[in-house]
């Protein structure tokens, strides 16, 4: 039996005693000790009181929504932990160091090869830079058609041709295939392919009144301005053709037809047919459109800045914004060398005509055809970005001026293709990038009859007096 016990030993014993964890002998000894030591007994009672308070410590009220909240969190956690890696998540600890190692190896490789890589990159960058610098229209821009006469503009409206030289030996031609698309051709004039017309002869043939002369003159004058800004020549032997040019002659023809009386329209159709014009229109007996409407239509047509740019090295669509006043100033300075500009254009034609095109890969929005004395660009009809020019009469292709070979070598180009530019600079393309195809040219004999109209029956129908109705008579008709 112990007389005294250290505080630490007593505390341990009392704690175990409270928990009924003492051996019987230890318990008996402690109880004897407690009987003779009131302070120890007091301590035991205090410890017991504390423990009883802890045992009876009030509980939280049951949370009946615990599972509901937990199940929502479990769903959210499952969503968050969905595997976003291309391997099982358990491999993540392995994947991270492997990725880091791989990245470090690449980094070291780049560092070791930095000189050659830098050289390679610089060379390629320079090549691309050179191509871009030489691949766009450069220097002073001049309009190719500087001084078109009224007759020449009318010629363009009726036949889609614009002479490129004083002797009219080379011409720019606009044509349209019903299915294939539009065609812009620069070629030597084919003898007899299109009749030369004059405005006075045209007015006379259609019996136009002075007021009609005035309206048609306005149409031709406005068209002259637009044509002037539609075909541009750069100092680097580049040629920029406004993509809307392919549509513009038809707009002119439509407006001219709208000016005419019904009987004059029939004559107009016969006039076009007699001269082998490539376009015709669907005639009707509607009265002439008011001149104010026609003036408004020809002057308020918005035009985009989209041009087809042709250089010896590059063919691409490009947005060209220029100040026409500045171009005109250039023109005044260059008038003395106008013949030189046209000679340059002829050189472009020759360069393109003689170039042995090899076709890069991929379908594109335009094709190029070339022969010994011509080259042509065919634009797909789905260019889709022509402004909505008002056309009172639907102008449709009737015949084609182009009478080239039955089939030509064709190049399909992607718009503004860098690959094309690199190719032109002699950088080899991968072997499978080259593909050749044979295409039927627009304007072969197969297309000759595609939009023919029986004009005689139309005239007879119009001339026939109808029951209960006065025959319409054109007051200007002789």
């Amino acid at each position: 039996m112990m007389n005294t016990m250290s505080q630490k030993k007593l505390s341990n014993a009392l704690s175990l005693y409270l928990d009924d964890a003492l051996e019987d002998r230890e318990k008996s000894e402690l109880e004897t000790y407690l009987a003779s030591h009131s302070e120890a007994k007091q301590e035991l009672e205090e410890l017991r009181a504390i423990r009883n308070h802890l045992l009876l410590k009030p509980r939280l009220k049951r949370n009946d929504w615990f599972w509901t909240s937990l199940s929502h969190r479990l769903e959210r956690t499952a969503e968050e932990q969905k595997n976003v890696f291309p391997f099982r998540r358990k491999f993540l600890p392995l994947a991270v160091p492997l990725s880091v190692t791989f990245a470090v190896m690449i980094g070291v490789g780049i560092f070791l090869q930095r000189d050659s890589l830098f050289k390679f990159y610089s060379e390629k960058k320079q090549q691309v830079q050179n191509v871009y610098e030489s691949g766009v229209i450069q220097g002073k821009i001049l309009p190719l058609f500087t001084n078109l006469s009224k007759d020449q503009v009318l010629q363009f409206a009726l036949f889609g041709t614009l002479p490129l030289d004083a002797h009219e030996q080379t011409a720019l031609r606009i044509d349209e295939s019903k299915n294939s698309g539009y065609r812009i051709e620069i070629a030597k004039n084919k003898k007899g392919s299109a009749s030369a017309v004059t405005a006075s002869e045209f007015y006379s043939a259609l019996n136009m009144t002075p007021s009609q002369h005035q309206v048609v003159d306005s149409i031709l004058g406005s068209a002259k301005e637009k044509i002037q800004s539609s075909v541009l020549v750069g100092e680097n032997n580049s040629l920029a053709i406004h993509t809307e040019l392919v549509n513009f002659n038809k707009v002119m023809m439509s407006n001219i037809a709208a000016t005419l009386q019904p009987g004059q329209r029939v004559r107009f159709k016969k006039y076009l047919e007699a001269r082998g014009a490539p376009f015709t229109f669907v005639a009707n007996v509607a009265p002439p459109v008011a001149p104010q409407k026609i003036y408004s239509a020809i002057n308020n047509v918005p035009m985009s800045n989209k041009y087809l740019v042709l250089t010896p090295d590059t063919i691409c669509f490009s947005e060209i914004a220029f100040n026409m006043d500045s171009v005109r100033r250039n023109l005044e300075q260059a008038l003395s060398s106008l013949s030189a500009i046209r000679a340059r254009t002829n050189a472009i034609v020759q360069q393109f005509g003689e170039r042995d095109f090899s076709p890069p890969s991929g379908g594109g929005r335009f094709n190029i055809q070339s022969g010994t004395d011509y080259f042509a660009v065919e634009l797909q009809k789905n260019l889709g970005d022509f402004p909505q020019m008002p056309m009172y009469y639907k102008i449709v292709p009737r015949t084609s001026l182009v009478n080239g070979p039955d089939s030509t070598f064709s190049i399909n180009l992607k718009q503004d293709s860098v690959m094309m530019r690199l190719f032109r600079n002699g950088i080899p393309l991968p072997p499978n990038a080259l593909r050749s195809q044979q295409t039927d040219k627009i304007g072969t004999s197969n297309n000759q009859k595609r939009h023919s109209i029986d004009l005689d029956s139309v005239i007879q129908e119009m001339a026939k007096p109808k029951t209960g109705e006065r025959r319409y008579r054109n007051p200007y008709e002789l």
Partner: protein
């Protein structure tokens, strides 16, 4: 058995959720736990809900007893059960489910205590928040008593973590020394020693109230 021991045993029995006892009911519960876990591991997720509903209140009260805060109880309890849900497929039945669950819960609460401690040092804002927290606790906590409970709670709160945990597990939750050792991952002797020292400290703190 002496009277004092009898009293404590009766008290334990009087607290319905206060512990895991070596009796037929508890043994049956343990067997049920094993069955439920087996069902869960074989793909029956409903078994997990039964386990949660069986232990959610014990875990909530364990957290409340250790932290003496009610505002974080549900959040922490949910995190504990989420961890259980993720780890349960790998449960190997090497210990009883509830000691395993308690170990997860205690570790989570320890993390919270350390985080809180760090925040205490870092945040001056806490000084202003304390008043609000106290008010929130008074509104949210449901203890039916009162001054003594509050004092005991604060006294427990003042104990170091290593002393507080054995006291709560033993005197509030009624775990045995061995179970506490398993939960706290220490020796049984360590549990006894810490429990003794914890009780002595509590007595020292609460002495004025006990006289």
């Amino acid at each position: 058995m002496n009277d004092s021991t009898k009293t404590s045993r009766q008290m334990i029995s009087a607290v319905p959720q206060s512990g895991i006892h070596e009796n037929a009911e508890v043994s049956g519960e343990r067997r049920d736990d094993d069955v439920l876990i087996t069902l869960f591991q074989s793909g029956d997720e409903r078994a997990f809900r039964i386990l949660v509903e069986r232990y959610q209140e014990r875990i909530r009260n364990l957290i409340y007893s250790i932290l003496n805060r009610s505002d974080v109880v549900d959040d922490l309890a949910q995190e504990i059960f989420i961890r259980v849900y993720q780890a349960l497929p790998k449960f190997r039945f090497e210990s009883s489910f509830y000691t395993w669950l308690y170990r997860i819960a205690v570790n989570k609460v320890r993390d919270e205590m350390r985080r809180k401690k760090a925040k205490k040092f870092l945040s001056l804002q806490k000084l202003m928040d304390d008043a609000d927290t106290e008010l929130t606790m008074k509104m949210a906590v449901q203890p039916e008593d009162h001054a003594m409970d509050e004092v005991i709670g604060k006294a427990l709160d003042s104990l170091p973590e290593k002393f507080r945990l054995p006291v709560v597990l033993k005197d509030v939750d009624g775990l045995s020394y061995e179970e506490i050792a398993e939960v706290l991952e220490c020796e049984v002797g360590t549990v006894k020693s810490r429990l003794s020292r914890a009780r002595a400290q509590l007595r020292k703190i609460l002495k004025p109230m006990l006289e």
